[in-house]
Symmetry: C2
Subunit: 281 residues, 2 copies
Amino acid sequence: MLDLPFIAVSYCYRGIGHMYFRSNGSKGLCCTCPNRYFQFCKSLLNSSSTEFDPHAVKNLAVTAKQYLYHQGDLNNELFVLREGWVMLTRLSEDGKRQVFRSVLPGELLGFQQHLNGPAIYSAIALLDSVLCKVPKSVEHYSTQPELALSLAATEACDKMLTEMYLGNITHRNARERIAFMVLELFHRLMLRGLNNEYSIQFPLKQEDIGDTLGLTTVHVNRTLHAFRDEGVLQIQRHELTILDYDSLYSLAGSTFKILVPEGLENPIEAGRVGSQVFRSS
Amino acid sequence: MLDLPFIAVSYCYRGIGHMYFRSNGSKGLCCTCPNRYFQFCKSLLNSSSTEFDPHAVKNLAVTAKQYLYHQGDLNNELFVLREGWVMLTRLSEDGKRQVFRSVLPGELLGFQQHLNGPAIYSAIALLDSVLCKVPKSVEHYSTQPELALSLAATEACDKMLTEMYLGNITHRNARERIAFMVLELFHRLMLRGLNNEYSIQFPLKQEDIGDTLGLTTVHVNRTLHAFRDEGVLQIQRHELTILDYDSLYSLAGSTFKILVPEGLENPIEAGRVGSQVFRSS
DNA sequence: AAGAAAAATTAATCCAGGTTAATTTTTTAA
DNA sequence: TTAAAAAATTAACCTGGATTAATTTTTCTT
């Protein structure tokens, strides 16, 4: 049966230890890349392809605040983010900006229904980032069906994340929305070992949070302030620290639970993070 | 380059004429199926596979209000909806229900990241429906890379639709949300010829609209009432009629525009529907 | 280190849509 | 055909978050 548990999985496996604020140089081979066990990279490395040589992967370095591409651009490349943080946004005619999601290390970037049609959103690097080019030719995938399936699973994964945000925004209030978003990002980084206990590097502005969740900056600010006063959560100098995981967890609600593996409700509390090895095959 | 303009396209090509309230019998071969030029079916029929014989496709008939599967169910099949209307919903712990989207004829149903994991939502038929089983074995796709790519493109298509709903709900008011939803469904049905001028069969309850858009039934009712009074739109006896397309179009906003082909802003007004043949290859 | 720009913060006011609770209409089942 | 259940409708009232507009703090430039 078609099941790809070890391919294209964002949420269901642990990271490979602590690499907080990792910066291992912009050039590098796949064999030393911390993302090699994740998502698309994994299937790329597992494939029998000789057409695409992971040892000759082309890197692209971008600095923070630089756009990778803008909505409407044609013929963009397909990338995996090696390190950094990329945010996907779209500006509507009336000047409102929708933030769709953050792309974190190991995740695919740039795939859309019409790969060579105009980009449906803009991609901006929020941190200095390194991207690896992914082959885009049909021929390549034609001889690598596992890769094509991995693409499908990756898209399904993104779709699920978007759906969970949709449910979150549609049915929950400001505190719940922010709790969900913070926990979702925290877990996604933690799976890659990019946390330091309860802290993560957090380049999103309050405006970004608002544009993701459909809240004004003013209200995001009020809510974050309340969280800080209550000792739930604090953000300072681009570092987010979860002070009361359980409160956030209960605010995030059941929608969040389908994104995290069983038994990882509070992985740090339970002393689990870093104590288990990533299941590599 | 990897571009699949004629595969897995929901939004960018026209239907093949009028088949309003089509009901051509539950058993049928692909060669006479009106969906054979769409999305996944198209690539299935174009593939060189001998493992999956489109002439021996297995149909499943379900009656309206019957669940195909529930959230949490294991090992569900993969289907294409041949005729009818299926809605995807998820109930959260606190009893709120999120409606994710409607699955319309020709669309794929049941694909998710973990195909054999628990279903992340329930699927309920809103009309009497007929579904065709789609092969689910890895082996099948391994010898049919175009099919696997078609899956990826189909998922990207669903993802885009979900993202547009997300943007719509996050940044727009009740009238705008409803206008967007109505137009989106109208266009999606029209692409398949399932409209009758400005009317479509519409099995959604006001509660369904509310649970899709994050509005209460009371407010959906108020808004629909206002639309009727203003001569914009009316729903009666499960039939939705667009009375003032242009008003709806301007309410739906720019988000909607990326879902419809250029020049189709008001296809009926322009006399275009039915006058062009679907581009079959 | 100083000045400028960006981001965060705070307060006051307001309203779109929620909540609650009845009533009426439509659909379904017997 | 009729009773019961489901869905739609309407009204009255209320609140979470929007809006607007300053002010303060932080970050970037030079």
